[in-house]
Point group: C2
Chain length 350, copies 2
């Protein structure tokens, strides 16, 4: 899990991120709430082919008179998280969490204090941090995401997510979900779709806040997962420990594989924003009947970010929307969502 999470991030990302990130989170406020629909569906969407594709799909699958009607129990919709439901720049939120956790981990294991890469992270020297290798980062992720009881991890992650802020907006990460996508989640649920997150990020991490932030319960979050180990404490009370053993790398082909493992049905609709979502969209599209495949294109540098080589945007630093992905979308009838053109507003606070 740690390794793959790290491999998804290139060196440039790290350098850029460290240049703008505070090393530790500052003062904190209440978490954002998931936003429901506001009377009419998709209120934050401009009229256009993207909005129309969603409306047409829902009509085709829920109207009993439609030849493409889908029984409610088969209405499964899957959503990538980073870059699809919330901001992924300048760095995946979970990686920020791991860096922020280093001081606490070292406090528990003082022998790490003078060992690399922990020493460098503790120093706060961003120039030195930017030079950390991928192997160093792996070690940091392993130390901060595994080795503790599940309840301890959950409590730590919950505390962090309720307080940590994004450096650009100085807002909680949980406030940086895309309002138009929150409306899609709500609109699909209003039409008896079951909504799932299928993320390359850590399954346990996202489950901590998925209900509160997206209205998606933990059991409907599929993500990169490490194993857990069942054992007993000194009083004979059982507990589960997070192990440094990768069970599911929920990226690329791992997404349909994870969907099979934890959902067991092919989605009717799938939403992503990068090559890591390609196989999930292909797998969704390979089913018969009505299917909806959508990709969020980050082309709004002013209100969010613009990245991805498609349409002459600068090269991506985290999520990768390549020209090949863009071509596949066009060829296979996937709908590309332009943040700039299709979304009236990006965030609930806009």
């Amino acid at each position: 899990m740690a390794c793959d999470l790290v491999r998804a991030i290139n060196r440039r990302t790290l350098v850029w991120a460290l240049a703008v990130l505070p090393v530790a989170s500052g003062a904190f406020v209440r978490p954002a709430k998931a936003q429901g629909s506001q009377g009419q569906p998709l209120a934050s969407w401009n009229e256009g082919p993207a909005k129309q594709a969603i409306l047409d799909f829902v009509r085709a699958t829920t109207d009993q008179a439609s030849p493409k009607f889908v029984p409610p129990e088969e209405r499964i919709a899957t959503f990538d998280q980073d870059g699809t439901l919330w901001v992924e720049h300048p760095m995946y939120t979970q990686v920020v969490y791991c860096l922020d956790r280093v001081p606490a981990v070292v406090a528990q294991k003082p022998e790490l204090k003078d060992r690399e890469p922990f020493k460098t992270v503790l120093s706060g020297n961003r120039e030195a941090m930017a030079k950390l290798s991928l192997q160093d980062l792996e070690e940091i992720l392993l130390a901060t995401l595994t080795g503790m009881p599940v309840e301890v991890f959950n409590a730590e992650a919950k505390k962090w997510i309720e307080t940590a802020r994004h450096p650009r907006w100085n807002r909680l990460y949980t406030e940086l979900t895309y309002q138009p996508m929150q409306e899609v989640l709500q609109y699909l649920r209003d039409n008896r779709f079951k909504t799932f997150i299928v993320t390359g990020g850590g399954q346990d991490f996202v489950r901590v806040y998925s209900q509160q932030v997206y209205g998606i319960p933990p059991e409907q979050v599929v993500g990169t997962a490490s194993g857990v180990k069942y054992s007993y404490d000194e009083n004979g009370k059982p507990f589960l420990t997070k192990e440094p053993k990768l069970l599911l790398n929920d990226n690329n082909a791992g997404k349909p594989e994870g969907i099979h493992l934890e959902i067991g049905r092919r989605p009717r609709a799938a939403f992503g924003n990068s090559t890591g979502d390609r196989e999930m969209l292909e797998y969704t599209g390979a089913g018969d009947g009505a299917r909806l495949m959508m990709l969020v294109l980050h082309d709004d540098a002013q209100r969010e970010y613009a990245y991805g080589p498609a349409r002459d945007l600068p090269e991506s630093k985290v999520g990768t929307f390549t020209q090949a992905l863009y071509d596949e979308a066009k060829k296979d009838g996937w709908t590309v969502i332009s943040m700039k053109g299709d979304w009236k507003r990006i965030f609930a606070f806009d």
Copy 2:
């Protein structure tokens, strides 16, 4: 998956099973339907401590005035399948499926025809089949459960489960679910519990019929799981192949581990019948607030089977209800369900 499924079955089981099983299934009829509640909850239960424990638990967790009230989204109940929701004797249904599939597998791969253990299974010689080693059985399970596209497996398993019959009752296996347990599932769902199957059997196998037989959708079935592999056919269409790689051995400690992986919450209620369910019940009981842990004791040789050394019953052949498990149940306040004493009827057709 295959290996562990096999290891759960001792030699004696095999001998016994082969003595009574037809080698191939005979003529077939329509599948059984899941039975809902019948006006009043738990109609097939006799008054007594087991029924009362269920009623008390539901009242405590759903009455808003109760100090043990549980919000609906946290109402998770998990059920073992074999021996808890349906008959597991004389052999796990899925193992019967695997033996029944051997002729079809050999037809696809004629080179297996003269190779052991396939040759012996094809011979129909029960005496010889009873001598198959566990390694032989492993090979049969691997050959019949992996190596094919997911859709092909699903179609084959569906066809089989709609037609195969239990030798004792000459009824579909799907008719041999316990009516009182169907009522528990329905009663919990009526009270906004989400019901899950957590089975040592194959996750993909149980998902084929879980909705129809138990009203439980595929995404709420956790079981022993092999990996799948994403690839493309000659037309570029993607598909998933079942691989002979064990991802989750959903027995014993694997049950709470599987619950963490695919549900991500500790259950409020858990139902089992053997030592394979012990850790799931322990893990459930280790949470705070109201919890319900129940074990089905097979003590009714006349209407079903009687097995398990507890209470002087003959030694178990498949599910093992040991004296140690019985003692743990008493010590930890788990409720033992006597099929003979607590259930007015066993099956819907009784």
